[in-house]
Each structure stands twice: as C-alpha cells, then as structure tokens.
Symmetry: C2
Subunit: 242 residues, 2 copies
Amino acid sequence: MKTKCETCPLRQLDLFEDMSRDEVQFMSRFKTGEFVAQPGTEILAEGASSSHLYTALEGMGLRYKTLEDGSRQVVGFVLPGDFIGLQSGVMGEMKHSVEATTRMTMCVFNRSDLWELFRNQPRRAFDLTHVAATEEFLLGEMLAVVGQMDGMAKIAWVLNRFFRRLTALGLNENDQVPLPYRQQDIADSMGLSLVHTNKTLAKLRGKGVATWANDVLTVHRPDQLADLGYSTGLGAARRPLI
Amino acid sequence: MKTKCETCPLRQLDLFEDMSRDEVQFMSRFKTGEFVAQPGTEILAEGASSSHLYTALEGMGLRYKTLEDGSRQVVGFVLPGDFIGLQSGVMGEMKHSVEATTRMTMCVFNRSDLWELFRNQPRRAFDLTHVAATEEFLLGEMLAVVGQMDGMAKIAWVLNRFFRRLTALGLNENDQVPLPYRQQDIADSMGLSLVHTNKTLAKLRGKGVATWANDVLTVHRPDQLADLGYSTGLGAARRPLI
DNA sequence: CGGCGCCTTGAAAAGAATCAAGTCTCGTGG
DNA sequence: CCACGAGACTTGATTCTTTTCAAGGCGCCG
C-alpha cells in the first residue's frame, strides 16, 4: 500500500473538495489496500456483486453495458478520482462493467464497511450521495448529447470534455492530454459507428481544431472545439473524493 | 396535508421496500406538507437551487434538459413514488427541469432537514443513495437504448417499460395503463423525431402489438413488445420510497 | 366559428450505417 | 532478420434509416 490517504496526491488538486482531518483518518481506515489492474482487465462485471469498492488513483478505464445483440454502450470513462462500484455497494449488483484501458491503480474498500460509513460518517455518506448524483448528472448530459446532437457535435463534445477534465487533473502539457482509448470506445460512447467516428475525427483534424493520435489528444482551437459541442455546465465544479 | 406517512398508499405496494416504525415516524416529521402542481407547470427548473424536495404521490411528469439549440432531451419520466430534487439537495442545483404532465400531488420536504437525515437516519441516508444509484442505472439503460437501438426497438422498449412500471404501481386494468404523455415527449426521450415516432407507433398498432391513444396504452402482445425492445433487468426490483 | 395543439401521412433530403479494401504498427515465431 | 498476423486506423462507395419539409385532419375551447 504505497499511497497513504494522508498524502493522497489527488486530494491536493483543486478539482476535489477538502477533507477534515477526522475524515482523512476515517478514510485511511476504510481503505484496505491497493489493487493494480492490467490493461484490458475487467475490474467489475455487470451483474456481479463485488465485495470490494474502489477509487481510481491512476490510469484510465471505461464503464460499459453489453446488449443482447452484442452491441456495446460505453456509459462512462473512468479517470483518476472516480469511484467504482457504488451500484454494487448500494443496490447489490453492478449495472455495468468496468474495464481497465491502461494499467490502473486503485484504492480498495470493503463493501461491508460501507454501513459503518453511513452510520458514523454522515458527512462522508453525504459525499457518497453527491458522487452518485454527479454520476447521474453526467449520464444525463451524455444522454442529451447522444439523443439530440449530430456526429460532429457528439465528437467535439466528448473530446472537449476529456480535454477539460484531464486538464483539471493536471495532465495538460502544451494543450496535449493523454487519451489512451480506441476510436471504437468513443464510437460506442456516442452511439456512432466506428467509420463515422473516424471520418468525423478526420474532419476535426482537417479543420485544425483538434488532433488525436498515438493516445494523445492535441487541441489547437479550444474555443472552436467548445463551440462545436455544447457547453456542459459543471466544468469547474469541485467534487468529493472517496 | 391529506396523506399521512403512516398510511401512505404507495408504501403498501410490493414495488416499494418496507419501512420500520421509527423510519415512518421520522419521515412523518420530515414531510412538511403537500403540494399540488397543475398540468404543464414547472416544478423545478434546471439550474435552480430549490429549498424543497419532493416525492411524487400522484400524477405523472417528466424530467428534461433544454439544449442551447432549443432541442429538448427528456431524461426521465416521473411516476408516483419517484423522488424529485435530489441533485438540488446534494449538489446545490438541479441539472434538469421537472414538469408536471398531469395534475400532480407531491410530499414536500425541506432541503435544510436533509442534513439531519444524514446525521440521524443512516438507514434513510443509505436509501437516498440507493435512489440516486437507481436513477443512475435508469439513465444508463436509456443511454444504451438511445445509443444502440433503432427506432422500432426504442419505442418498443419505452412502451414496455411504462407498461411494466405502471402495472407494478397497480394501474393496469385489462392490459391497459394510463399514459398521458404526448408523442413529442416520447420522441424527445428516445432521440427520435416526432414524425418517425409517430410512424413507428403506427407500425406497432398495425402489427397488433400495442396501441396508444387517448392517453391510454393498450398492450395486446406483451411478449412481442418485450422481444422488440431489450430486456431491461430490474423489472421487479423493489426500491426504497423517500 | 375559428384557432390551436396534437396526431397522421406522403415525399424528398440528408446523415449515418454498412460494405469493402487497404495501410500501418507492433509483437511473435520461423 | 524477416515474414506473418492481429489490431487499430483510413477511406471510398453504396445503402438505408431517420430527418426534414409539407399538408391535412381531428378534437377542443374561447
């Protein structure tokens, strides 16, 4: 267990809310260890009832649902600071799968300790609900984008979101952020075909707005990219870290 | 305040989880009154920070987001038993609007009392998180449907969901359930145009699978309707009532 | 009676999916 | 060391689902 809650590098970021000394102490006990997932590994499976919950420390992954006909809907991307397994924790089973895209390091919590959190740490319980509500909000945004916008706007929106979020995580260097996903992942998240996604990315490249290659997204015209998508609120909103 | 928590008609339903005597007592104090919204009324506005939270007792409504370009995405339908305002309660402001479609009666709670709930009623706090997670799950389902399925499957899925949910609420009489929405509402929820929605409904009617007219949905072939959509899990799952 | 909201239907236009190759990189094994 | 295959990215051509445009009908309320 290399990373101590007391010195958690994520909590230092402006993106995340502060925590009282008491809360940090509690989290330190709540955290039972660390877990490293290799690229391509399934962390939680849809329908599974995990006895562990996680918070992503490093690396990226994705959440997805598999439909009967074999198609896949990506319902979210897991970035450092994201909580994993809440549905399993409160509803008994996961409603989507979570897979590591890159190598991921995660804090591990015991589901059985969750009840103690609700009983003794009302503030943390509130934060957990906050996280759930934030997740709901994000899905609502995605739904609005997937349901109402055309291909170009969808792609621009998702790239812009990545750019802003990764920047907030301190991963922006010269308008470049790491983006280790495959085009198929983006396509499955926006409800587009791989081919159409590819062609739309090519257009953005051609326009000189943004380039995504070799797992790196370069945004040349942040303003134009934002205009093409739709201004999602909650850009700078701080969120609790679990 | 006509409806007492002690004799809440919703809690009698199998759909909702039981509550301890102590919890009922707490809820009774938590509930500060009732509110009736007339058809077409906006109950909560996107971006607003409401000092009240609600639970729908009677009637139906819908949740929606308005995009810059004027288009609208319906992100959910409010049916009896649904909690309204959770985002406002924990995140400070609503991320979507809520509008009454029919006349609606709602239990009213004070947002300022929410903290007491977290402090003194861990079980209720857990349930609230459960509600948030359920909401997240539903949005995930919707996203998968909107993102991956074609028009016919989308319409079949949403009609089937209404049919099952309203049946669980005891509103099914002879395979007929009340469905007081407009076609435009369904179209906006599934990311389809009004015209296409209309034509798809006509097809379902022609096939003799389901008929929706005069605010009443009649399902002639429940099995076929289910086959056309996609089997959403959590059909009979009980949920907490707030 | 007139207007408005909602439902219905046909025809044309367009955006996106599908089909079909072909390229490039990288890791593996002969 | 190089051939080979897998996986991901590109691109052009074709097909088709869905949208947009247009118009008419029906029921209800002032």
